[in-house]
Amino acid sequence: MMREDEERIAQLLRDVAADMPADPELERRTLRRSHRRRVLNAGVGAALVTLLVAGTFVGVRALSPSAPTVAADPSETPLAPSSDVDVVLVVQDLAFDTDRIEIPAGQAVTIRLDNRDVSVHHSFAIYEEPYEGFPDNESVLFRGEIVTGPAVIDYHVPPLDPGTYYFQCDVHPSLNGVLVAGPLGTPTETPPVEPQPGLPDEVAATRMTMLDAVADGPDFGALEGLLDPMTFAYNFDDGSDPLPVWRDDPSVLEPIPQILDMPFYVTREIEAPDGFVGKFYQWPHLMEPGSLDRVTDQERADLAALGFDDAEIEAMREFGGYTGPRLVIRADGLWTAYVTGGD
């Protein structure tokens, strides 16, 4: 039940909002951009995953485990990959043979483009962000020359920082995909799965299942069983169900072992929209309201371990709370939230 002054504020908010007129021109612009974005996304989804791993380089692999991987028939490969080539990308019938490439971060790599489309121009370029129409010159990290098929060209890509990037054919930007630069070829150090004291059995079980599920490459099926996609909260604008988003970019799950290894904060009893009433267990402990009002040495060390520098810590303090990766399990064991950052 709202108090009188709350009602007044609510009414004033409605009054202010009513001051915003609709603009018919905005509709036309928005729908035009939206149509373009959906066409782009459809193109990405349709591409088959067929990545040829060159020589003995085991750090390059297709990331989508459910997608078909077609063994290369040497008779169909006009130019076998040499040991100097890290990735072979085939373009045929106006489609790349993969929409995901993974390369090692911090190393120059050679990406071979095998253009099998007769009399068709293709190229390979890497960007920081997906394009919004024409190729974005500001975010381009690598742009290879255009070749007319049939032809094979080796692109020498300079070292990239760890991260997720975007690749495309500049001639046909609807041919595109995700390029992940990561620490491949060396096994990821995973913290041991240790029980934490003070957790209810249901919460402890969910935590342990989650740690197991992300230990050696995400077990999406196990993660799916821990949450309700209709109510699960994650990074805001990434779709209706977190699983497809995580499958697209499993790197977002990487902080989970680290934050679950930190102390947790327990809320008081809260009523959730589904009628559940109980406590919520939040990792890391930095989620506790007011915990960053005065940043202790321990908190500063914890934040540094999560990759935050002094300026970012100060920004959090000014904001009034921790904004880094965080995860919530409620007392009945339901995993209710995982947010990797401010966005």
Binding site: P21, E27, G239
Partner: protein, 176 residues
């Protein structure tokens, strides 16, 4: 019932029956623009932000036949984009300077209180403003607001409480 007389909820349900992008846009554009305006206080910025939000959600949201979920994600996206915008303090300061200049513009006589409220909203920190707008304009619960902003429920309570105190103070100063 004419389109213009449908409630917000009814319009969202109506839009879902067709499931097409144009229908979804027309059903939610007004709400999206108003929410963006409350979050930013700037009409042109609200238009840009709403447009970006629609493009993002249309691009990501593969099943356009779920109108309730569509609005849910659109709303979160608008809130998120506005927060991202204001996270850049320099941009915010510049924008506030512009707002101050705009305040010299003449106002219609019957919008006095509304304008005081708009200015009072702008005195809040962006996160506080988002919490107040979601709680009292979108009528979201504290739990939902916390989820939408990615903070703890206790933080929402604190932000709303402090934000309301600030609004009361600003409005009572104007009333006086």
């Amino acid at each position: 019932m004419a389109e213009g007389t449908l409630t917000r909820t009814a319009r969202r349900e109506h839009a879902g029956s067709g499931g097409r992008m144009e229908e979804l846009y027309r059903a939610h554009a007004g709400d999206a623009l108003r929410l963006a305006y409350l979050m930013t206080g700037d009409r042109s910025l609200a238009e840009d932000l709403a447009q970006d939000a629609f493009v993002k959600v249309f691009g990501r949201f593969h099943d356009l036949r779920s109108p309730d979920a569509f609005w849910w994600y659109l709303r979160r996206t608008i809130v998120n984009l506005s927060r991202s915008h204001f996270r850049h303090r320099a941009v915010e300061r510049s924008w506030l300077s512009k707002q101050s200049a705009d305040e010299a513009a003449p106002l219609a006589p019957d919008v006095g209180e509304r304008d005081r409220m708009r200015r009072a909203l702008l005195t809040l920190r962006p996160e506080q403003r988002a919490a107040i707008v979601l709680r009292y304009y979108e009528d979201m619960s504290e739990v939902d607001t916390a989820e939408a902003l990615g903070v703890a429920v206790g933080t929402i309570k604190s932000m709303v409480s402090r934000g309301m105190d600030r609004l009361r103070e600003e409005l009572s100063r104007d009333d006086a």
